[in-house]
């Protein structure tokens, strides 16, 4: 699913964001990436999404090597990922349904499948009653749910969520994390970054990656080993 060997990322301004990262994630695993702000979590997600390219080392996501010259293959790989962004990246002025449908329009779904997937996903995040509401009129928590619905409706093999609880209060954050980890039941790999370690103490997970100053420790599988 995800394979990284001696992965390094250095930005054009010389900042070394990640160094000698080695990770192996199997299909259907739930992985939390934790660490303070600026530790390199988002850089790692950018690499996984093909928004950045490794400076050295090897990275393959869903079997696709992440290399600058593989641009069109990376675009196709993104079609099988459900990304959830910290700032939601929803289309303003459009309804919940329109936003969820947008993520599927260029995939190989028929119109009918798109409609069914969208309604299922919206129902799963608990927003059926607001399906035709403009996203501009939703709370932060609801917007995050729309972003999750958009990602999930695509039936992705991999969900990548960058700080999905960043803008939410504790109750809403826990709800969102529980919702995200529940997709493990669909055999979807879920990778979630967060700096709020207290929120994930009791979360069901297969792997916890701690990242700091571009270095990682990983493989802590249960609650006792880490906390």
């Amino acid at each position: 699913m995800i394979d990284a060997k001696d992965l390094c990322l250095q930005y054009a301004d010389g900042t070394l964001a990640l160094q000698n990262i080695n990770i192996h994630i199997e299909p259907g695993e739930v992985v939390f990436i934790i660490g303070p702000s600026g530790s390199g979590k988002t850089s790692l997600l950018k690499l996984l999404l093909g928004m950045e390219y490794p400076t050295s080392g090897h990275l393959a996501v869903l079997g696709q090597p992440i290399k600058r010259e593989k641009n069109s293959e990376i675009r196709r790989m993104r079609m099988t990922i459900g990304p959830i962004f910290q700032d939601f990246r929803l289309l303003q002025g459009r309804t919940v349904l329109e936003n969820v449908l947008l993520g599927m329009r260029f995939l190989e779904f028929s119109k009918n499948e798109m409609r069914i997937n969208a309604r299922d996903a919206i129902e799963r995040v608990g927003l059926s009653h607001k399906i035709n509401t403009s996203v501009d009129n939703l709370s932060w928590g609801e917007r995050q749910r729309v972003a999750i619905a958009r990602a999930v409706a695509r039936k992705p093999k991999l969900i990548i969520a960058d700080e999905p609880t960043g803008n939410l209060d504790k109750d809403n954050a826990l709800n969102i994390l529980e919702l995200l980890t529940s997709f493990k039941d669909d055999h979807t790999t879920v990778i979630i970054t967060t700096h709020a370690t207290h929120l994930i103490e009791n979360m069901d997970r297969d792997m916890l990656i701690q990242i700091d100053k571009g270095n990682i420790e990983w493989g802590r599988l249960n609650h006792e080993e880490y906390f």
Binding site: R75, R76, F85, R89, L91, G103, R105, F106, R154
Partner: protein
């Protein structure tokens, strides 16, 4: 292609949203392009009318040959036969005084009453010679050798002047058409660039979701075509109204100007303006994308 048809409703709706988001700016763009297209349609109509006029006049090119009116009919017939034998003469007809008078009555229409003030028929009999225009110099030269001809009236200077006016209009037309084409391309590509920049966030999101390029740019492409097409419709309407007005003003007081039929002109003008607007819309959109890609 399957995805384009599947999403046609989305693309049109998205185009509408993009147009609505920059509503005022789009209205001004449509107005400025409509004025430019209107200028273009008027220039093209002008070129077309002048070409038609020259062609019509050339087709009617004739020389009038005057002779001594005291000649007997047999002598006039002899002159006529000599003229007919000249290379390049298509037709030669004797127009007697009465026919000449009737013709002028026809040309003057409702103003023909002025002819009644003459006590006698003021017109002379002559031979009307239809010719191939390019042979005019040779024909005149041969006619001058026929004795008993008093005077030959050719309209060469008028035709030459008309042709030079037509050429000037044509050159001006090409310059204006080029200018209009470039202006429209610049305006349309600028609108497209503006649309892309103001929707940068949305475009980035679509890229991260794996959307193919055509899916991202198609609504902007349609926006460009839609704006120029609307401008084209405005321009065609304004241009046709102007043509109609010019015809009404011209055909009354200047009945002898051989204008082409108004219906043909309006039909041609509408088709040409709309097609030009669509083509320029497509080109402008493509330029807009190309320049955005570079940046």
């Amino acid at each position: 292609m399957k995805n384009i048809f599947k999403n046609i409703e989305y693309f049109l709706k998205e185009t509408g949203t993009i147009l609505r988001l920059n509503f005022l700016s789009n209205i001004f763009s449509i107005l400025s392009m409509a004025l430019i297209f209107c200028m273009l349609s008027m220039v093209i109509s002008g070129v077309w009318i002048s070409n038609q006029m020259v062609e019509l006049i050339e087709g009617e090119a004739e020389i009038n040959v005057f002779y001594d009116e005291s000649f007997e009919d047999s002598k006039v017939s002899g002159i006529l036969n000599e003229i007919k034998a000249i290379n390049g003469v298509r037709q030669a007809l004797i127009i007697d005084k009465d026919k000449a008078y009737d013709r002028m009555m026809g040309i003057m229409g409702k103003d023909a009453g002025i002819l009644e003030f003459f006590e006698e028929n003021p017109f002379s009999a002559f031979i009307e010679v239809k010719i191939e225009l390019e042979e005019m110099d040779l024909i005149v030269e041969r006619m001058e050798k026929i004795k008993d001809i008093d005077y030959i009236r050719d309209n060469q200077s008028v035709l030459n002047r008309l042709r030079s006016i037509s050429n000037i209009i044509r050159v001006l037309g090409i310059i204006i058409i080029t200018g209009v084409g470039i202006s429209t391309l610049v305006i349309t590509s600028h609108i497209i660039r503006q649309g892309i920049y103001s929707n940068k966030e949305q475009i980035n999101t679509l890229k991260l979701l794996g959307a193919p390029k055509y899916f991202i740019v198609l609504p902007f492409f349609l926006e460009g075509i839609f704006l120029t097409l609307i401008a084209g419709i405005f321009a065609a309407t304004m241009g046709n109204l102007a043509l109609w007005y010019i015809y009404v003003q011209t055909t009354g007081p200047l009945p002898f100007i051989p204008l082409p039929p108004l219906e043909n002109l309006i039909y041609g003008n509408t088709i040409l303006t709309l097609c030009t607007s669509i083509v320029l819309g497509i080109c402008g959109s493509l330029f807009g994308f190309a320049s955005t890609n570079k940046n």
